[in-house]
Symmetry: C2
């Protein structure tokens, strides 16, 4: 997918001030045309699915869209919250139908099947048209996944005041497609555990901003909450408690729930580092287990990493990863590979014994099918691109949601977090996915994601620490900051992000407040230069 | 109250390592003696109130203590969460009664009456004794307020495993009294609104750590959510919505709820700055209302402050504050007085006209009965003390809970918050209330408080941004870092704070996780030097 395809389209959006009535659109569509006519939604509004052989999850998506349309009840973010719109609504035309259909030649597969196809082969584009005269609106796409994305946009178009759901901006014409195929959110469920219900709520929120990958960092040194069929002892001995376990049916349900929302579940079982807790079951497989001082042997307590020089550990690891990978529907699986500690191995007798027995090539060679996640810094993308690998951008200096909360280690009263400062939504939003790369390397960038590492997070702060901040990258990688297009603009974006945040509140999420409410209902009044 | 009274007592605590079984005590009592005998709580345990003329709110406090005792069900924060304690509990003695009584000569007034007496005249001390042989425990105090504090401590003493509530540390003898009379928490309900239920939940949590003052910053430039009997238009025109108002009965209920928990409500109606929204009702009373660029005329949008040079504004302000003050039971009231903007007045014609008509003495003189809150920096206390004022310590560089979240103003993508960085619990905990002062000035320090300013906060993140961090100052000002006593120690404190945090979770609060759960159940294992 060549980014240059979208440059022309984006310029259209950036070239005009967005009318306030479409502030709620996030991510902003590639092409958006609006009018100035009021249009109300009929109490008898229905979605007309004209899709031959429509899969069950498309009907579920339509039910969900119907629910949001009836229950969002979001007042416009202006003084009065829409009270001044009532005059315009008197005698307005009424919209009764949205007709969904596929382009000719397209086949109706389940959304969940479309969502897990290889990157670059998924079809997420759609065309949405809403006439001003009350005649049927239409949503057309090349796949059920595209229809799902279009429904998400449709739900963001309407406001509510005093019993009436409406837009002031008919006719509306949207043509939309993502700039990058990978748009993710990463959650660490090992440092602290998150019940399935928290993950489901997070998947809902991800779907609202068209994030299409749930990067699930499911295990780490501190706990192994994943129940693996052939290795049940890993969770029995490694989960924080018998209640804090993801069973195979939990994982399947999460995959199904995500798939129905156009989200691929990228499971990550980090190896050979970040595996200390495996020693609770297989003590012989782990070097430097719980050695102290832990800081000599690991980035975080407890120390311990797989003795991957030992043949039996290689076999175990391969078998474990294959077993887990066989349970997921995604085309991808993450094996981690980060933060290997050298003293842990150089001081480990079994590892050194094995190394002395053979000539080992330490230059690890990765298949060029491998996708590399760039996380330490945004500066590192170039080195990865120069080796020809495809890239997912997860730079800590822009996208780590946990930064800025200070040290969590004991005995360090004035310590900072390693990735200070806190990343505001607006700082994240200034990230340029193609910075430092040559034009020939642009196509290696598949997209990116924001991440929540959970040393200082748990279900108790999940919503406010993630939302709406994680929407920043969702817009970057959908609406695209292309090399020759106009860059995304934080001043233009803030009122839309406020709308998104308030719509999230209407849907039961607990996103953090971005500003005093006084500012939220007065777009731009609290800009630094206002 | 001379701080030196408590120096000897504190040294006792600091001189020994606390046994792990009392990790849950927060703030740590002045004098604490424990044994090593297991003692279980009888299923038929009851509180025996031997207080003549006991007020209703003492019985309510006892009911609450009974509820916590039965429902906290907090497992010890060790691997196994108490599974290894069951052997010790076999055949253990059983505690059936806690007898509450007042010292001879003390009279039983309502807790709510004791809580609002002038600072320095309240009696919060108590003595709690729990024998190891199962005979009745005793709680003795000089007031119902002291009994309430003792009940709070009693509830923190017990753990739960598999149907049994117990301690491993009988006999227990505690003698306890606060080092400082003022221990507060400040909440801004004007930048964003908090429903009454959020305030009540916060008062509960405050009472658990013996915080005795709710500093309620109830109005500001952005909104006026307080319904005032003689000035109802202020809320009608100044609240964010008709639903986002504190009615007189709301305020009375909050005062009553707080009082029953030993908490004084210190209402703050900030004047003459921070009053822009009053212009919605009285435009003639406000200078530079909504002037732009706002940054010239105010620290935050919207600009606007009372024209306090005008006699009619002086009369209005005096009448307004008197009206509000008459509705509270506290001995104190806060009139703000911070962040006056000079250009707002120098460019204001009515103000200049008035000033030209008279010779005004700009040297404002405060009665020496005034208590001054030090908030810009901890460096400022000395200057206040030198003028002889009593001090409440609320230094932004230690105690502002909202710092570190980046800029909230639009158009400032990489902006910081003015009081960066984030204040971790441990950084707050290192605050020395007497730093920079001379020994003669120590008695001017009444205590202190942590504050949540709500530009970027709302009910959606209230619990995790406040708790357990606001417990840091609660312990400083109860357990006291005295000039010649041993300082409080973050390494010793962390396991206790973890216990407090998990007990808060058991009671339905959503405090932020301090560390991975792996660390929480292994005290000290995640210390920087472990």
């Amino acid at each position: 997918m060549a980014p240059s395809r979208y440059v022309g389209i984006l310029a259209l959006v950036a070239g005009c001030l967005l009318p306030s009535g479409v502030q709620a659109l996030w991510p902003i569509p590639n092409k958006l045309e609006t009018g100035t006519t009021a249009l109300t939604v009929s109490p008898f509004f229905y979605f007309d699915v004209q899709v031959e052989g429509a899969p069950l999850d498309l009907y579920e998506a339509v039910s969900q869209a119907q629910f949001y349309l009836a229950n969002d009840k979001l007042g416009r973010l202006v003084v009065g919250r829409g009270a001044n719109d009532t005059t315009a609504l008197v005698g307005a035309n009424t919209l009764s139908t949205l007709t969904l259909s596929l382009m000719s030649g397209a086949t109706a597969e389940p959304i969940a099947s479309e969502a897990v196809k290889p990157l670059g082969t998924r079809s997420e584009e759609y065309t949405l048209t809403i006439p001003a005269d009350g005649s049927a609106a239409t949503l057309v796409a090349n796949s059920t996944l595209g229809l799902y994305r279009g429904l998400t946009t449709f739900n963001q178009l309407f406001y509510y005041y005093s019993g009436v759901t409406y837009t002031l901006l008919a006719p509306i014409a949207i043509t939309d497609t993502p700039a990058y195929p990978f748009r993710g959110f990463a959650l660490d469920t090992a440092r602290n555990f998150y019940p399935v219900s928290d993950i489901l709520r997070t998947l809902d929120a991800m779907s609202w901003v068209k994030i299409n990958t749930f990067h699930w960092h499911i295990t780490d040194s501190q706990s192994f909450p994943l129940e693996v069929a052939q290795y049940p002892e890993l969770a029995i001995n490694g989960a924080y408690s018998p209640q804090e376990v993801y069973t195979p049916s939990d994982v399947q349900y999460i995959i199904q729930y995500a798939g129905a929302r156009g989200i691929d579940v990228l499971l990550e079982v980090d190896t050979p580092g970040h595996t200390s807790i495996i020693a609770a079951t297989y003590p012989d497989y782990v070097a430097c287990f719980d050695e102290t001082p832990w800081a000599t042997y690991a980035n975080e307590p407890p120390a311990g990493q797989l003795r991957f020089a030992l043949p039996e550990v290689v076999n175990f690891t391969a078998s474990l990863l294959a077993d887990i990978a066989s349970t997921v529907s995604s085309s991808y699986f993450s094996t981690g590979g980060d933060e290997l500690n050298t003293p842990c191995y150089t001081n480990d007798y079994p590892t050194q014994l094995q190394l002395n027995k053979m000539v080992l090539d330490w230059n690890i060679t990765l298949s060029n099918e491998t996708i590399v996640m760039v996380w330490i810094s945004s500066e590192d993308a170039l080195a990865v691109a120069e080796k020809g690998f495809r890239i997912v951008q997860a730079p800590s200096n822009y996208f780590y949601l946990d930064c800025g909360a200070g040290a969590w280690l004991g005995g360090d009263p004035t310590g900072n977090s390693w990735c200070d400062p806190f990343k505001t939504w607006s700082e994240s939003y200034t990230f340029d996915p193609l910075a430092n790369l040559t034009e020939a390397q642009y196509e290696l960038v598949l997209g990116g994601e924001q991440c929540l590492w959970s040393e200082q997070s748990s279900p108790d702060n999940l919503d406010p620490i993630v939302w709406p901040r994680a929407a920043s990258s969702a817009e970057i990688f959908w609406s695209a900051q292309q090399p020759t297009g106009a860059p995304l603009n934080v001043t233009e974006a803030l009122p839309r992000l406020q709308d998104l945040r308030f719509r999230m509140v209407q849907r039961g999420l607990r996103p953090i407040a971005l500003q005093p409410y006084w500012c939220a209902i007065r777009p731009d009044a609290c800009d630094l230069t206002a």
